[in-house]
């Protein structure tokens, strides 16, 4: 259980953290979404990397190969990618609508606009 043997996990962890940081720390809605998709992408590595077998090949059965990498994580991640892009599309559509209604996609500006509207009401 060497630290080096877990290299793939370190990469995952770094990407995940960076993505999450962008999501929480940034006020721009589009930037948040980009951070969110990086955060989701990091999960791909978490699943796929351990599925690799040294000396194995892609899991397409063909004569001449006996050792294949694990196909199951691939399938799961395909689904995860699709979910990710679906979320992104919806998020962007929301951002576009927000921009039309508020004229801004900065979170604090939008909140300020709401407060103003409430005070006027």
């Amino acid at each position: 259980m060497s630290v080096l043997g877990h290299y793939n996990y370190w990469v995952t962890v770094f990407l995940m953290t960076a993505g999450l940081y962008i999501v929480i720390a940034r006020g721009n809605l589009v930037k948040k979404l980009i951070g969110l998709s990086i955060f989701q992408t990091s999960v791909y590595l978490l699943y796929v990397a351990p599925g690799k077998v040294i000396g194995g090949t892609a899991p397409i059965i063909a004569p001449g190969y006996t050792l294949y990498s694990n196909p199951l994580p691939h399938v799961l991640i395909l689904t995860a990618i699709v979910v990710g892009v679906a979320t992104l599309a919806l998020g962007l559509a929301l951002a576009v609508r927000i921009h039309e209604q508020y004229g801004s996609i900065e979170e604090d500006e939008i909140l300020a606009a709401d407060r103003e509207a409430e005070e006027r009401a």
Binding site: A58, I60, L78, V82, A89, L92, A93, V96
Partner: protein, 143 residues
């Protein structure tokens, strides 16, 4: 971008090949990487390219909104429908074994239709989203 002759000709030459490639990815997915999802994305990309170069209205003429919206729903229906056929033929839901007399042939048939369902919905959704976003900009410009 309508003025660029070179672009238009290259695009005209390229788009059929992209579509053929999409079909290859679709139907060769059993033997090589790829399948319904990727094929759907590629096919949608071909139409998007057409729309970018020849303008959104001409893309809309080529593949009208109504068709796209039907595609969005149709793919899921095909997929879920395959499952129901499995039920009707006496298997469990999404059981492909019963789709043909030989179980393996049944599996192949099931996978074939399912992948087609995926491709239709995916390309429909991608195109629809593209139309939506591109259509918005158009309206803002004319204001």
């Amino acid at each position: 971008m309508k003025g660029f002759l070179v672009l238009r000709i290259v695009a005209k030459m390229l788009i059929p090949y992209i579509l053929v490639f999409a079909l290859y990815v679709q139907f060769h997915g059993d033997y090589s990487p790829g399948g319904g999802f990727q094929a759907g994305v590629i096919a949608a990309a071909a139409i998007m390219l057409y729309g970018l170069i020849f303008g959104l209205p001409s893309a809309r003429r080529l593949v009208p909104d109504a068709v796209v919206e039907t595609m969005v729903g149709l793919g899921v229906l095909i997929y879920a429908g395959v499952g129901l056929v499995g039920l009707a033929l006496g298997g469990n839901y999404l059981d492909y074994f019963v789709l043909a007399r030989d179980p393996v042939a049944g599996q192949l048939r099931g996978i074939f239709w399912v992948e087609i369902g995926v491709a239709i919905t995916v390309s429909g959704v991608m195109l629809k989203i593209f139309y939506m976003f591109a259509g918005r900009r158009r309206r803002d410009d004319t204001r």
